[in-house]
Symmetry: D2
Subunit: 350 residues, 4 copies
């Protein structure tokens, strides 16, 4: 941590800051210059962050040097993490292709969509039973009935399943049916939810909040990790910007950015990231070319009848075409889309 | 709702859209032009929003006309709402001055701060017992012990108290001690939490999310209102922008913007909105001049020893000076800062 | 400047960085810790910024300490600057009230509006002769004819006049007619234009770019100042954010933020800052309460017939009402709205 | 255009709006509903946009239907545009690889870099002679001397050259030496500069402004096109968001977004878009996978000695490796990197 003092700080201020640092058992380094005096402290920043140096009169600026996350950092775990979820590998060369409807609406529809995405090459099935809707008057999901349908579809088509959990009180139920717990963008800083998910032993798919910085995302991952759950998969799904022709702005640079500082796998959701089916295939290809460990795509047999987010879903035929491109890119970059049985999915290759 | 078709749409598409509208029992108005065909539907937009017209092939754009919130709208409730909370009036000419420490750290400190802010003219006491901290390694609050201290301080200094609730499982406990439930920015779209707060009969202070639009904020208020709780107080606390010299960008235009379309009171929090004590007084004055129904200020006797957000707190002397300016502005604009006994607070007048 | 090295940097890297610093005639301070090595350099940062230390292999982060602007800084000029423009004082307790139509459309209309705003208490007249329009098919301004009308109206109603200059080739002409040169938001980083305005001796009204940070704005002011023109007036006019119910988000915290680090006067334009007449009065009041040195308001007798930005103009009656509030706030905060003759404008007092 | 009236509008307002529309020779369609009355006008929106309907009292909202750009639209020119610049094809399957230093610093250095990027597979050389620097104290470019060096390097290594023009007064000079005129992000709405570039017959590389929407970018292209210059190449280079770990946020979704509504080629600049060499290769690959018509990369032999933007340049070895990946992606997607002689560049294939 670097503490920069205001111009013309008197010795009383300098002494006060030095004492506060030494009281923590740390050693300050003083550099006095013509324009500014700076005090460097190298050591356990967690001790330092306990003290709001910024609030000391005479302090102009405090610059943290060490990253505030630990378990999520690549320094802590230099190798990239890879998880095996019922035979599906995410990270370490394994590419996750998560597909399915936004919301689970009926067993028939879910099975129809699951059959199509599995045939096209997806290896994980998604579907929402609890839906975070902006309006209290919108469809809120089927709850436990939806979870049962999702589990059944996963069994039938040999795919692990992922579904969102919104409330700590739902976790016990969701854990019964789902293979992966999703924490949605709106709950990325719902810290009680993060902690409770951290106490399960299910992999957690943690979506980036709409205005979360890369550091914020890693701090939220740290909440899960610090409870003992090491299986966190990060997910970029677009951030809020001034651009209004897309639902969000998909920030693909987060892929190499995260890979440089964290060992956790990172997947990309171009469905929420753009909100426009005409842009999803290009962004899915771009995500894989950027090095993502997976993609997350909403697919619906009849988007115009979907009860949630229909306008941003691909139809199965579009998903088929996309998967042929994704498979070609996976081949080019040496990635494998493994199925639940641990073998490469064959059907997407045309 | 206006549905704009793509250029050169054939009659099959037009017929399909018209049929979907009529199937909902609504009447479409067709306007065919050279460049575009548009279909207007005036009626119950809640029926319309159930159908994702955007997903119909041939549809270029869907423009909603009616606002998606109802109970929060000024059309529903043309008079501005005003709440009386233990004698303190918010809205309808009553100015709330909410002050106190970020986190409750000890009874002694809380009482010391409460005494000072009450003497300066604050009429509501704040303090956090459950703290949403970015880092799992930061101080997380004293929980029930903190709530007890807060209640005691409120009794001692005759101020209703407000505190944050982060998890639906905490509500039962918090309701025992607090007069107002605060929903923090990070939980503005924690819909289960909103619903549970809506089921209590305590006033709810709903803070705007860091990237929430004005409409999003009102939709979240709608979640609380639609559960039967009519006492929602909105709070601007800054949004995330590219500007990095302040913690957030305080969007004061939300004050008249909300007042034009909603009847709910709106208060402003310049402490989180700027994150800088040197900017708080100017922004508090601006908020009152803009017509806000209250301000929310963090005050700490010794910011450099605070366990949470110390750098953004005013010290009591600064708060004293600010309150003299706030009182003068309240007088100018005909607003009253009422105390718990229903009388105007006198002490802030210099 | 602080240079933070990557973890486990070897001595070769450290030596290389130290040598580069010493080659500039500066003295580095080395602090080696367990987690990181940091090198502080205190001295002439302009020398340092010539070298891209960030590009040196082994360097993790470079943290500048000194501000990159000089002539605009309060350290350079501790007293706030105040300018006297034909008797109108801006800064130092003088409040500028700049009003007039967006574009100069005809002499008759301009005189009509000028008479009304002068009577209401404005002390500077604005009007555009060269209009930066998003579309090449929109009205682009009357050019020299418009400038002549503006000068005549200024003479007739005893107000100095301000108008925008968009192209270095226009400056010679505009200087003939205008008392203040305005640089619009879209040209805030048109550096050749800044330099040319800096070579005139006319005051410059520099508007903040739509995505300019506070630092960027001051760096643009520095371009004008470094050419020898000391009369720069800064202007906040809203920034681009995700919020789409207003044209821009007016960032009022820039007022105290700038006042803390710069001596230049700062005025606020709520017309462009909100784009909505229903929000302008509240934001104008808030600007004055925040401590601004002036406001900038578009007024049009018949907004629905305006050739540019009609929807965001106040009508004269609205401006009259606003000015009564502004005058009351000026009185409260000890500010004076001086007219061209150096006396306080009387007519706005009701 | 759709005009939505406020609730409970009386017939006088409706009549007034209808008359204004009919006065323009257009035919309004009136739809009266319970909650709102809406008036649709289909026809020449350029006529309509002349009238600020928003400013009419009683009007709640005005919704444009047609896009405000024409010559840039795909409706105007359904085939994608492709340009041949001295044998280098951009668009229509031709992939531009623009590389070179940020600023031209010396002939020796420029030739060294040009040789390396040409050998690696670049087909267009870039280099700045006029530099838009945030600080007036930074290196501002070599001017005409730099242009001469750039032209010579282009000749020597058989690459067309592109360089930025910042001021209308420079255009005559720059046209003598450059094959493509670049308009930088800071000047994207410098409308006089756009018009002057539109009057030349040189291709224009138009960079997106830091806070320009997709529509704003196309409107700026329209300025160039409307002067008769049909060769406009768009360039995404990152936008400003709250994320502060990258210099900008690269918005790759603009690639398919633009391709859907415009015929103009679109290239991507990950150097400015990220500001971090560790992220550039991933983003360049992603751009090509997203369907971009080219990439724009800064390369410097010794970034730590560069006079401008060194920290974001790749070194030649990194560029070599990147080009092998870009070539593989071009092959996969059927794109060709043509050299000045019209033949495919061979050297990048490993």
């Amino acid at each position: 941590m670097i503490i920069v003092l205001k111009p013309r700080s008197d010795t009383r201020v300098i002494k006060h800051v030095l004492e506060r640092i030494e009281a923590l058992g740390l050693k300050p380094h003083l550099s006095e210059g013509v324009a500014r005096t700076i005090i460097g402290v190298i050591g356990d920043e967690s001790k330092l962050s306990a003290l709001p140096f910024q609030a000391i009169e005479g302090v102009e600026q405090v610059v943290p040097i060490l990253k505030p996350f630990k378990l999520a950092s690549r320094e802590f775990h230099p190798e990239g993490s890879a998880f095996d979820i019922k035979g599906v590998r995410i990270g370490g060369g394994g590419l996750a292709v998560i597909a399915g409807p936004c919301a689970i609406e009926s067993e028939e529809l879910l099975f129809e969509i699951a059959a199509r995405v599995r045939a096209a090459g997806a290896n994980i099935l998604r579907g929402g039973a609890f839906k975070p809707r902006t309006s209290p008057y919108s469809f809120q999901g089927l709850g436990r009935d939806g979870l049962k349908m999702l589990q059944a579809a996963g069994e039938r088509f040999a795919m692990p399943v992922v579904t969102e959990v919104m409330d700590p009180r739902q976790i016990e139920m969701v854990v019964e049916y789902a293979d992966i717990l999703q924490i949605g963008a709106r709950n990325m800083q719902n810290f009680d939810l993060l902690k409770e998910c951290g106490r399960t032993r299910k992999p957690v798919l943690l979506k980036r909040g709409m205005s979360a910085s890369v550091k914020d995302l890693l701090m939220s991952a740290e909440y899960v990790l610090s409870e003992g759950n090491r299986q966190v998969i990060l997910c970029e799904r677009g951030i809020r910007t001034f651009e209004d022709s897309t639902r969000n702005t998909l920030d693909l640079s987060i892929v190499p950015n995260l890979q440089g500082q964290s060992h956790l796998p990172i997947i990309v959701d171009p469905s929420h990231g753009t909100g426009r089916p005409d842009l999803i295939p290009a962004m899915a290809r771009a995500a894989v070319a950027a090095g993502a460990d997976g993609i997350h795509i909403e697919v619906h047999s009849c988007p115009e009848r979907a009860l949630s987010d229909g306008p941003q879903a691909l139809v199965p035929d579009q998903f088929d075409r996309l998967m042929r491109e994704i498979q070609a890119l996976a081949d080019l970059f040496g990635k494998t889309i493994t199925s639940r049985t641990g073998e490469a999915v064959a059907c997407a290759r045309s």
